[in-house]
């Protein structure tokens, strides 16, 4: 311990030779200069004195015609001599430590429970960003509690979400919600035909069949009834359920202009970076004012050599678009129209089995009219 203090404080080892060095020692002691380890050497003494007293010693030495010679300088002051006047080097680490201490209420990093999958983590991350919780934001307990409630109300994907914030780290724990079984309605509803056709097969699970196989039905006609009167004319109600497979013939019509205007990306991509710290956002580039452009914002944790910083790097990708007139060949237009028709068909009858199709297209005044007649087998009960 004593060695540590000796190294910490600046001391000077010197030799005093020649003249009246005994008088020099007397004067030093009389003036209260704490000289230690005084050892006689030929023609004088060697001693150790705190560096701050050395100037006084030299004054006394001059009076006694004694020559002082410094043999060794010891202590932290001399070791840091190269840094004298460079106070920034000392202040830098101090300011750094103080600022880190002050930034404990800031969010430094977000970690997710290992049980959460990557898509679930991304879902929570997006929700957190939308609620102004990002790396660099200042968090309070009230805000966290409020965010937990909002997360649970905004997403049905999770049954429980917990946000634990300690020492700058936010740990997100969540339990995915179990899949809810679909509960069928029990109200008495009739099943009617959503398209005209010839019935091929009827499979009634609940209710009372009104039509039989081979019958032709029109759109909106009753197929399976939900109620029936018994012998005492009391209506027996049930939830109609079943499938009615029928052969249907339907025509779809689509008009596709051969020339139309659309917003097309120019092929350029503009990027705008900004850093979000606390409640402030610092833009590193000028604002990109491009109307009719696509914008996409991505957030990244700002880190240096893998060390997370309490800041978020926001990247705004802007894809400029221009109004362009597009001319289509009749064949291309026909393909577009066919695709639109088939999309409509499969949205109406997802399980349809196509038996035959007839296509017809005519071009009039710059528009292509596409007509497709489909003959298919599908469930028409609705």
């Amino acid at each position: 311990m004593a060695n540590f203090w000796n190294r910490l404080f600046a001391t000077i080892h010197f030799t005093a030779q020649g003249g009246r060095y005994e008088r020099f020692l007397t004067l030093c002691t009389q003036q209260g200069i704490p000289i230690i380890n005084v050892q006689p050497i030929p023609g004088g003494v060697c001693a150790t004195v705190p560096a701050r007293y050395y100037k006084q010693c030299s004054v006394h030495a001059r009076r006694c015609r004694t020559r002082l010679n410094v043999t060794k300088r010891q202590g932290l002051w001399f070791q840091l001599k190269g840094y004298h006047g460079r106070w920034g080097l000392l202040l830098g680490p101090i300011v750094f430590l103080v600022s880190i201490g002050m930034m404990q209420q800031m969010l430094w990093s977000i970690r997710y429970d290992s049980s959460l999958t990557q898509p679930q983590q991304q879902t929570i991350q997006q929700l957190l960003y939308s609620m102004d919780i990002y790396e660099g934001a200042i968090l309070t307990q009230e805000k966290l509690v409020q965010t937990e409630k909002m997360l649970l109300s905004q997403t049905a994907e999770f049954s429980w979400i917990s946000l634990n914030f300690a020492k700058g780290r936010l740990v997100v724990e969540a339990v995915p919600a179990a899949n809810k079984p679909e509960i069928e309605g029990n109200e008495a509803v009739d099943l009617v035909a959503k398209e005209s056709g010839t019935i091929l097969e009827i499979n009634v699970q609940e209710g009372f069949a009104v039509k039989t196989r081979g019958q032709t039905v029109a759109q909106g006609e009753l197929l399976i009834s939900a109620g029936k009167e018994d012998y005492s004319k009391t209506n027996i109600e049930s939830h109609a359920k079943g499938t009615v497979t029928a052969q249907v013939k339907k025509t779809y019509l689509c008009t596709q202009p051969l020339q139309y205007t659309a917003l097309i990306p120019t092929g350029e991509i503009e990027e705008r970076l900004s850093v979000k710290i606390g409640t402030k956002q610092y833009f590193l580039q000028k604002e990109i004012a491009l109307p009719q452009s696509l914008k996409k914002i991505t957030h990244k944790q700002l880190s240096v050599l893998g060390f997370c910083l309490p800041a978020t790097l926001e990247e705004e990708v802007v894809v400029p678009r221009v109004q362009t007139t597009i001319s289509l060949q009749p064949k291309q237009a026909e393909q577009f129209a066919k695709m639109a028709c088939m999309q409509q068909f499969y949205s109406e009858f997802p399980d349809a089995q196509i038996l035959s199709m007839q296509e017809e297209s005519t071009t009039e005044q710059g528009d292509l009219t596409y007509k497709i007649t489909l003959e298919f087998i599908a469930d028409i009960a609705n």
Binding site: Y21, E22, R23, L25, T29, G32, A47
Partner: protein
């Protein structure tokens, strides 16, 4: 007899006063020499160091001069009014200075 005893007996106030009395003037400035037989000599209120080398140190103690002869004599600490000397002491000489 009883009256004589009363005359010599100090009053309580005098006793308290005697307990907290200050020593004589200059008591703490008297030159003192403590010799520890383990080789450590403590000198208080030495006037000046007259000679100092590897074999001898001669100190002016006011009325007396003290010469200490020995080997590896080292002044461990030289503070205001106090010197701490270590080393192997062989001989000590006392001589009268100015007063004689």
């Amino acid at each position: 007899m009883k009256r004589k005893q009363k005359k010599n007996q100090a009053t309580p106030w005098q006793e308290i006063k005697a307990l907290v009395r200050q020593p004589e003037e200059g008591f703490y400035r008297q030159p003192i020499l403590h010799i520890n037989c383990f080789g450590q000599i403590e000198i208080e209120n030495c006037k000046q160091i007259l000679r100092y080398n590897e074999q001898e140190i001669c100190l002016d103690m006011g009325l007396w001069q003290v010469s200490i002869f020995g080997d590896s004599l080292e002044l461990c600490n030289a503070n205001k009014g106090q010197l701490l000397l270590t080393g192997r002491v062989f001989r000590t000489e006392f001589s009268y200075g100015k007063a004689e």
